[in-house]
Symmetry: C2
Subunit: 155 residues, 2 copies
């Protein structure tokens, strides 16, 4: 019988990860698994400074981003849910798909729950590609969740 001890749900704090969060929480509850909520801060390599900005961001820019991400993470999932279940929150820095796969390997994650965009828009292509790469490289099964699935239009 399959045992899910550790479930990983990456979040980018967007609506796209909310639906995934709902599934991750349901699965964590059902299997009494630890829920790992991870936010990946993209590092600044390859980010071109804005032409209007004379200097690169100060040295603690990533540090500030991280502090603000850690604060935001404390609300996900909702504290009431977290109080009744085991939640591990973490931030990582690097290319999102790589950090997600790496985290899953290091922490021996049994299931990754991943939000992915619906159709249309450049954002779809971007997050779609993260999801695709995670599906290809993850050391464990991956559940992909699109927002607004199972939506029914009233007649």
């Amino acid at each position: 019988m399959i045992k899910l001890k550790r479930i990983l749900v990456p979040t980018d704090f967007s609506a796209y990860s909310e639906e995934a969060m709902t599934y991750a929480c349901a699965f964590a509850e059902q299997f009494k698994a630890e829920l790992h909520v991870v936010h990946v801060l993209q590092d600044l390599v390859g980010v071109v400074p804005d032409p209007g900005v004379a200097f690169p961001p100060p040295g603690d820019y990533m540090g500030e981003l991280q502090t603000s991400a850690e604060k935001a993470l404390l609300q996900i999932p909702a504290p009431e849910w977290a109080a009744k279940n085991t939640v591990v929150r973490a931030t990582r820095q690097g290319p999102p798909f790589l950090e997600i796969v790496r985290y899953a390997k290091e922490l021996e994650i049994d299931l990754i729950v991943l939000g992915t965009h619906g159709r249309g828009g450049l954002a779809h292509v971007l997050l779609g590609s993260v999801a695709e790469r995670v599906v290809r490289k993850a050391p464990c099964p991956v559940l992909t969740v699109r927002p607004g699935e199972h939506e029914f239009v009233m007649p």
Copy 2:
């Protein structure tokens, strides 16, 4: 709270779908969901007859394939498991990814569990592309499972 009432697991009777089946069964048990096991018979459109064969296959060729698929389906998942849970078995005919997505829509499936190849080989590309398309087009979340995940090598 998420309710999974109907779980779909497509099978091509290969080892690649076995691991997916294990997960599908575990999830069906845990959520007390109906397990739909579906085999898609690829239709013969586009299949070029072998140069040595003078005639196209007789008219009941697909019928025979279907009968043999239905017989094989009766063993998946194992009858002992099926006796204690609700299992629906079905065959469809057409392009696999399309039939899987269509079945999920028609039967209001809540979760698709899909086996996918490991690395290497042409087969990887083929089944990989089925998985990718299902992930993109499915009306519900998709769990992709690779065989041999979480394998540990003894020191």
